[in-house]
Amino acid sequence: MIEAISNSTERREMVINMGPQHPSTHGVLRLELVLDGEVIEQVKPHIGYLHRCFEKYAEEMGDYAKVIPYTDRMDYVSAMNQEHGYVLAMERMLEIEVPDRVEYIRVIMAELQRIASHLLGIGAFGLDLGAFTPFLYLFTEREKALDIFERSSGARLLYNYMAVGGLMRDVHPEFKTDVADFVKTFRPKIKELNDLLSYNKIFVKRTADIGVIPEKVALNFAASGPVLRGSGVKWDLRKNDPYSIYDRFDFDIPVGTGEMGTLGDCWDRYMVRVKEMEQSLGIIEQALDGMPDEGDVTEAIPKRIRPKEGEFYVRTESPRGELGYYIVSDKSAGPFRVKARAPSFVHLSMLPAISKGSLIADMVAIIGSIDIVLGEVDR
């Protein structure tokens, strides 16, 4: 630094490490920033601080069912959706017909988890921009969703609830009323959120026209989920490639509109998440109506897994985007190879392309708006 002062006529960039211990890198992301004043000239994301060898573990375990708890730990913010994808892939491989009741419970759980995940994403995004209070309001709501998970599965974060061909155990007796209560109390909170944060002038100023991802860039990087939809592309696997029983529900795909600034800015991505929560509430309501009251959720679980040889890929819409599981089987009891296609990883790779020339404060907003979970990036 002393050197920099003595050669003050010479233009020099500052290289600064953002993370792995930085309050707003959402975990253990490290960004190498090259700064000119406060303007970012270069970004280099460094990952791997949370690498837990998911893929190697899956190969070594020698049991398909034992991989499920590990899928929870990939995107720990939306564990239900991670499990859902994996068990769907397994079921396609084993050609298992799953009872209707199981499908409905899975969809309700997945959509509740989507809401819980978006609540965290939105809350942390607000927190990154200095709005502390909305974060806590949203966490109060998230708690209610987690309470439902806890009563059904016994865990609040990493559930290990879905099993190949069924569920680990049936939902708790008051499940339907609990979920209906949640839906009823949560709807007005979205309006409250919009009043407090979404249309707040400072918030709009901080997010509109920032971190713009044009449609073409989003497609080139294979972005998915709210990041892609924020850029105005109507693409949602629940509609475009329906899995499970999503073809039975009626819902919209919210896309970015460029309402506050440019299409594909941070505000659009944020707003897509808010609107998605409303759509999820609609799906949950429809699923509650259609869900059969009786039925054994464990009846279709195979006693022994006897896979056929081959390769299987199933993709699902997790709260962060397209989550794919690619499973290679060699007829043994355990997978030969499991590869997960993690949306956060893809989105993180966009970072250098979209954040050049922005300020440090914008960088924080951009990371918050693509809503990465480092557990999923590193796996």
């Binding site: 309050p23 200095g130 502390f132 309001y137 707040n200 400072i202 100023k205 914008d362 924080v364």
Partner: protein
């Protein structure tokens, strides 16, 4: 010179005059930190501190203070040792020294000098210097960025602050805060409103709004808390500080908040004057009213902090240079015209 303690030895008098504001600051800081946490809790639908001391965690700040005293005093290896150690004390000294010209009640002011306002604004400028000192001496890039941001911010926002203070000075014609307060006694406006400057003419309301926005920025409160914005700059210039030195920064910050709020109360809300004329007047009630007005402004600052997001650094400058400064100067001219006509 008002001398409430009779004829005492000059040296003793200095000690007494130094001790009174210090006591007020320390008691206020402990209460305000606890109060801020309770207010935050109330706004955020939670309880805030509840355990320490029994009743609503009233002893939480004292416990925190005791913890901070015990902490190791870490100086980074490559830091500029003297400046690093000195900066927090200089920052506190700057805001503490400014309390000398604040008229706490009709019977007490630390120093009755005729250039009170000028002195106050000059002394608080040292705050900027100490923040740059802390940011630079830490030899940490985040600290440096925080220090630079803070320098730019405080230097910029001093202009509208001074312009609005000047607006009041145009009306009073005196830089002595005691005189400024005395000019606001009585309840003559519309027959019942007190003669506070905020009620005296409409341009002074505009002046107060600009003044309040500027002091938010001067004391680094949300939405202008950029120098220490924890989600961007870790903790800005405070990043490398620990223990008591960090506590000194916090103390200085809270003291600065109170100082600027009290200045606002003096300039616009009648200082120690009671809102009911002579009723509940007098020196002791005067102190009560003065602190009440100051603390109300502090409360509004806290309220804003827990509601709004933060501005970006260029937006902050934009607000200052292209909105606040032109408006405050136009306002100054209008107030001067108003004073000539009426």
């Amino acid at each position: 010179m008002i001398e409430p303690f009779g004829n005492i030895h000059p040296l003793l008098s200095i000690v007494v005059h130094a001790a009174i504001p210090l006591t007020i600051i320390l008691v206020y800081a402990l209460a305000a930190i606890w109060g801020e946490r309770k207010i935050a809790g109330f706004i955020q639908d939670r309880l805030g501190p509840m355990r320490v001391g029994g009743w609503h965690g009233w002893a939480q700040s004292i416990a925190d203070l005791l913890k901070l005293i015990q902490k190791e005093d870490i100086v980074p290896k490559d830091a500029s040792r003297f400046l690093f150690k000195f900066a927090p004390f200089m920052m506190f000294a700057a805001s503490y020294a400014a309390f000398a010209v604040i008229p706490f009640s009709s019977a007490y002011i630390g120093s009755m000098i005729n250039i009170g306002v000028f002195y106050l604004l000059a002394v608080t400028s040292i705050l900027t210097l100490s923040i740059i000192m802390a940011g630079w001496a830490s030899n940490n890039k985040w600290s440096l960025l925080g220090g630079m941001r803070s320098a730019a911010q405080m230097v910029s926002y001093e202009v509208p602050t001074i312009a609005t203070v000047l607006t009041v000075i145009v009306v009073t014609g005196s830089l002595n805060l005691m005189t400024v307060t005395e000019m606001q006694s009585g309840n003559d406006i519309l027959g019942f409103l007190p003669n506070w400057f905020i009620f005296q003419n409409p341009f002074l309301i505009v002046a107060f709004i600009i003044f309040f926005i500027s002091i938010l920025a001067e004391s680094h409160r949300v939405p202008f808390d950029l120098p220490e914005s924890e989600s961007e700059l870790v903790a800005g210039y405070q990043t490398e500080y620990s223990g008591m030195r960090w506590a000194m920064f916090m103390l200085a910050e809270y003291a600065d908040m109170l100082l600027l709020s009290l200045l606002g109360a003096t300039l616009f809300f009648g200082g120690w004057n009671s809102p009911f004329g002579d009723f509940m007047g007098g020196p002791v009630w005067g102190f009560f009213w003065f602190m009440l007005k100051g603390l109300l402004l502090v409360f509004v600052m806290m309220w804003i902090r827990w509601t709004l997001p933060r501005y970006r650094v260029d937006q902050l400058m934009h607000i200052c240079w292209s909105i606040l400064i032109p408006v405050s100067f136009i306002n100054l001219v209008l107030v001067a015209l108003w004073e000539m006509i009426f």
